[in-house]
Amino acid sequence: AAEPVKVGAIECLTGPAAKYGTMIKAGFDLAAEEINAKGGILKGRTIELIYEDSAAQKEQAINAAKKLIGRDHVVALLGPTLSNEMFAAGPVANERGLPIIGTSNTAKGITDIGEFVFRTSLPESDVLPVTLKKAQAKFGIKKVALLYSNDDAFTKSGFDVFKETLEKLGIEIATIETFSVKDTDFSPQLTKIKSLNVDALVVSALAEAGGGLVLQARQLGIPKTVPIIGGNGFNSPKIAEIAGDSADGVIIGSPWFIAKEGAQNKNFVESFRKKYNMDPDQFAAQAYDTMYILAAAFDRAGEADSKKLRDALTKTDNNGLLGPFKFGADRSPATAEGVVVTTIKGGKFTLLQ
């Protein structure tokens, strides 16, 4: 048989951020398995994924990238999980002329690192305006409280977009409150917000903090008539898991949600559940799509060559879980066509009608 094509993946597989990395890995593995089972790429070669752990540390991300490139001679890199790690490891791949595809980096400036840096994750600037517009139309929101984790690149980027969009839509921001990604207590901020009588809470946070925040908001008596609008980080089953009933009515925009229509998604969710005995999240879906995008690009490139692969990637035209997908000139997703706005009902994501 032909030699497998080696692809490296740098993910947080240990440490506090491991929950993201493991989901992403699950998505990659599932897709790669399917692709290899269906005959692989480049006329019968299989994809061999080599994972390295970055443990959420930039130095380890760099070392992992260098090890994968220099020792394992991979042709392309996937990951790393966190934007901070991408800022450190991206330049390494770029310097060696190796495509590196972030599947979960949404911070501003990621693809500015260089020609070889791609990302398949929709930046917040594509998703959030859609969400806000829809919510405004449906609930007639005029005045909101804006909350975000200010010590994290991902949530800070989300906040920037939220703020800009709210201003553009002419929605008044009654207050801006911050917290740390590690915080578990939001009661002072929420108590203050409660007294401001806002129409909605707009939150940029990761799932753990977000879930806790939703729970506490409802506990403190911010009524369910005041919707809580989340960013990308909210698109996780964890929100409903942590907040329970309180999660009902949370509004999230995203390119993917678990109950998304279509056979392709049904298949994905089913195989995922079968393989891992748990529900996929957005990170897994993005990773899954990315693997297909990469496989197709290999076939277009015609050989396992990094430079050719890069050029092939720019011509991506995929229709996957996330909907129609193309890279823009900046090697970020070109459109936000696939974005849908969902809401949680009875603990499940459903389309916001």
Binding site: K58, A64, G70, S83, I113
Partner: protein, 280 residues
């Protein structure tokens, strides 16, 4: 053959750079621990140096030697300022006060857009080289060795063992402490700038509590009775996670296990011997 060798070097280049800068951090901890001062401000000083260095390079494009000098000077000045009030603290009280400094600075970075806020500073050009890092390390290490073997080292050890007795022996304990704090801040700042200039990116959360603890562990694991200890400790702790990569999921398990075993069997540090000096 050459190509593989090159690849090998390239693959481990940043690891090797990391060994060097972390060794400098270990020595910066040594500078204060030598006097029995448990300052955990090292991470904060490292942050000041890293941000100073990165900003000077990114915004003003200053030449690297100048950048490094500034990255050492600014935290040293900060140490001079906070040195006075913290001087009367000792042990864990000093530790918590210096950690507090780190937290306050972290909040400051996060809230300062000019410093990139939570997004940090990215795209820092690679300027640190093997020669610069290890040249500096060699000079610093040599300085510490010479100082430790002289009457200065003796005075430091006396202060560590019994401050009051050292005072009565005519040792100006406050001056020693202040000097040590300033030197350690300068070294930490230097290491911060070196790190920033080979890892492209720095962020506000890199210089907090966890970083302070790991810098401390470089010194303690290696041993603080000679300057070689912190250097070796830094080497070991930096290289371990990379060397253990083949263990995949169990990588950090083994990493932890090795640390535990080393400390149990060598409780005074890997290099627990005392440095030779007159009468030793």
């Amino acid at each position: 053959m050459m190509a593989t060798l090159d690849d090998l070097l390239w693959s481990y280049q940043s690891l090797i750079y990391g060994l060097g800068t972390n060794a400098i951090l270990g020595l910066s901890m040594y500078a204060v621990l030598q006097l029995g001062q448990l300052s955990l401000g090292q991470a904060a000083f490292m942050g000041i140096g890293a941000y100073t260095g990165a900003l000077l390079t990114l915004r003003l494009g200053l030449p690297f030697p100048l950048v490094l000098a500034a990255a050492a000077m600014v935290p040293a000045l900060a140490a001079l300022v906070i040195g006075g009030p913290t001087m009367k603290l000792s042990g864990v009280h000093l530790a918590i006060a210096t950690i507090g400094l780190g937290e306050v600075l972290r909040v400051a970075y996060i809230n300062t857009d000019a410093m990139g806020g939570a997004l940090g500073l990215s795209g820092i050009p690679e300027k640190s080289t093997f020669a610069i890092i290890f040249g500096l390390l060699a000079v610093i290490l040599a300085g510490f060795i010479l100082a430790s073997r002289s009457k200065i080292g003796r005075a430091c050890e006396a202060i560590r063992e019994d401050e009051a007795a050292a005072r009565v022996m005519g040792i100006d304990v406050s001056a020693y402490k202040m000097t040590a704090l300033v030197i350690s801040a300068a070294l930490a700042g230097l290491a911060g700038a070196l790190n920033a200039h080979f890892s492209s990116f720095i962020g506000p959360n890199e210089f907090a509590f966890e970083a302070a603890v790991s810098i401390l562990s470089f010194a303690i694991l290696g041993g603080v009775t000679t300057p070689f200890g912190p250097v070796l400790g830094a080497f070991v702790l930096t290289a371990l996670p990379e060397l253990l990569r083949p263990f995949h999921d169990f990588r950090l398990v083994f990493n932890g296990l090795i640390i535990v075993l080393v400390v149990i069997f060598l409780p005074r540090g890997i290099l627990g011997f005392r440095i030779r000096r007159t009468g030793g």
